[in-house]
């Protein structure tokens, strides 16, 4: 006899799936759109981290906003959700590493994560990263539905 999951439990998981998708997608879309038109300002903000010099700061400033919006759109599409969740986790870990090393060196990089707005207190940054990592991990694990199939 196979165990059947209670419908309420399944519904809760689906609701959580969509909550994570929408929350992550909104944050990434907001971050990407806020930086979309701010080319020079973004390069300057990246330079404040003192992690990469020119021309890498310029390349990051060019590629980051489209990448963030790609992740946001990819999360909404079922077919690309797992890969996008993985990319979201990598991006969040990258942002966290850059900001933590700047703090460690006594630099307040005024992150520029969301253009001129966004969290300023370190604790809010930490909460945001942890929440986004948790949501990414949840979506990554929940999208493991593909199994090897063959056809003739």
């Amino acid at each position: 006899m196979s165990a059947v999951a209670p419908p309420l439990f399944i519904r809760a998981k689906v609701v959580l799936d969509w909550f994570c998708v929408l929350a992550l997608a909104l944050v990434f879309a907001w971050a990407g759109m806020a930086k979309w038109g701010e080319a020079a300002e973004l390069r300057e903000a990246i330079g404040h981290y003192r992690l990469v010099g020119e021309p890498f700061a310029g390349w990051v400033a060019l590629l980051l906003p489209p990448l963030e919006i790609t992740v946001a759109l990819g999360l909404v599409l079922q077919a690309t959700r797992r890969l996008s969740a993985g990319m979201a986790a990598v991006l969040v870990m990258g942002f966290a590493t850059a900001t933590l090393q700047a703090w460690g060196r006594g630099i307040d990089p005024a992150c520029g994560c969301f253009g001129d707005s966004g969290p300023s207190a370190p604790v809010l940054h930490l909460l945001l990263w942890l929440g986004m990592l948790a949501a990414s991990a949840w979506l990554w694990s929940r999208s493991r539905g593909d199994h090897p199939r063959t056809s003739t």
Partner: protein
């Protein structure tokens, strides 16, 4: 012949995301002309003189910024944090000397007593070049000792990026 559809399914999301990314990147390059210059920052006069085009860390200003301040109506006070002998040989116009190796508190107290800080909007400290730390030491000391006073009168403290060497390399005026 058996064809693995799973392999195709695995690669499909990558293709979709790459396509999306390419479209968005193209759209950004079309919509934001400034973005096209991002990987190729133009060389400035200051860069040719040794200033980096990399955005400066907070609290530092470039020679061109300082030049702009000096040409504006805002009051700027320059502090030379090099050795006394170097200061006496040559220094930036109107600069005052603070010796980072002597009693800084007493020197700063004397500076306040002299009234040199009154009405100053930008307080800029410099030392020999980008590798010297004396300007940072003096700037930190000024922030610590005069933080409240400077905050009250709206004075900011900056360090000149590249120091005296960059200023002189940019063919800027000095005083003896």
């Amino acid at each position: 012949m058996k064809i693995s559809t799973w392999e195709m399914r695995r690669k499909q999301p990558i293709a979709v995301l790459l396509l999306l990314f390419g479209l968005l990147l193209g759209l950004r390059l079309l919509a934001v002309p400034e973005a096209r210059q991002l990987p190729f920052p133009p060389r400035s006069v200051g860069e040719a003189a040794g200033e980096s085009s990399i955005p400066l860390p907070p609290g530092q200003i470039s020679v061109s910024e300082l030049r702009g301040w000096l040409h504006s109506a805002e009051s700027v006070l320059l502090i030379d944090a090099r050795a006394r002998a170097d200061f006496e040989t040559d220094h930036l116009p109107q600069a005052l000397h603070l010796d980072p190796h002597a009693d800084l508190s007493a020197q700063v107290f004397a500076l306040v007593q002299s009234g040199a800080l009154e009405g100053v909007i930008h307080l800029v400290v410099y030392c020999d070049d980008a590798s010297c730390g004396a300007s940072e030491t003096v700037a930190d000391h000024l922030r610590e000792q005069l933080g409240t006073l400077l905050e009250t009168q709206g004075t900011d403290i900056s360090v000149l990026h590249g120091g005296f060497a960059t200023w002189r390399a940019d063919a800027q005026e000095t005083s003896r």
